[in-house]
């Protein structure tokens, strides 16, 4: 029981720390690395919530693929040196901070109604545990078969969109990059 609480608080602090540092960093590469730190801490929380499969997906897909894609783009555009100068914004920084703080308070007010929610034990069948690959896959291919198949179309559209968007127009300064 003590260990569970300790792991939760350690992972929570690391996740929030990584998120805040990601926003504060000037260098985009450091930003990506802090986001990876935050995601790994969140994956620990997933495992603690008995979501083994989704937690490993978070590390494999998010940290392994999506954020590496971010790193690729940063390297490709050679943004490491670029200084994003802060121009005079019509809204002061304090207002932005207060807005997000208010948003947090609002969310906490909403979530307070779940404080009476009972805690229950895992459903464990003979062959599997809650959140293992087998029961999640079973849901994915029976109850959620239709949305699951639709994601393949979504990914296809995303691939086509990305290729068209990033494609160089014919005759537009070729051989520059």
């Amino acid at each position: 029981m003590m260990l569970e609480t300790a792991v939760f608080y350690a992972a929570a602090v690391i996740a929030v720390f990584g998120a805040i540092m990601m926003v504060l960093q000037r260098n985009p590469v450091a930003s990506v690395l802090y986001l990876i730190l935050s995601l790994v801490a969140q994956a620990v929380l997933y495992v603690q919530l008995a979501a083994m499969f989704v937690g490993s997906l978070l590390i494999i897909i998010y940290a392994g693929a999506i954020l590496v894609l971010f790193l690729f783009v940063i390297m490709l555009l050679n943004l490491r040196g670029e200084k994003i100068e802060q121009e005079k914004s019509p809204i002061p920084t304090a207002t932005k901070l207060i807005l997000s703080l208010l948003f947090f308070v609002e969310l906490v007010m909403i979530f307070r109604q779940f404080s009476t929610m009972p805690t229950s034990e895992y459903i464990t069948d003979a062959g599997w545990q809650f959140g293992d690959v087998v029961p999640v896959a079973e849901l994915l291919f029976t109850k959620y078969l239709y949305p699951f198949e639709l994601t393949s179309i979504l990914l296809l559209v995303a691939i086509v969109g990305a290729v068209i968007m990033a494609k160089r127009e014919k005759g537009e300064d070729e051989g520059e990059m």
Binding site: V16, I61, S100
Partner: protein, 100 residues
């Protein structure tokens, strides 16, 4: 066992940091990563609820959200590359088309 509100408040905190990142950062890539962070904060609360209600459907939903995030990252980064090619900057203030 840790009460579900702990996870929910952590998720709210991560989401608010994401909101702060989107509205205060001028760097397009950092704004985009803040959006990814907000998606993950929502995922965390879904996972927490599915654990405490003992329903595994939440895991499937998170799986679908991960797919959407991957698609979004691919298209968004392609848009950033296209913008950078045209304007040679990723400062969000520099290419606001509507502001004159």
């Amino acid at each position: 066992m840790i009460p579900v509100t702990h996870y929910l408040i952590l998720s709210a905190l991560l989401f608010s940091v994401g909101v702060a990142g989107v509205i205060s950062s001028r760097n397009l890539i950092v704004m985009f990563m803040s959006i990814e962070l907000m998606l993950n904060a929502a995922n965390l609360s879904i996972i927490a609820f599915s654990r405490y209600l003992n329903i595994m459907d939440g895991h499937v939903i998170v799986f679908l959200v991960l797919t959407v995030a991957a698609a979004e990252a691919a298209v968004g980064l392609a848009i950033i590359i296209a913008i950078f090619r045209n304007r040679a900057t990723i400062n969000a203030d520099r290419f606001s088309l509507f502001k004159r």
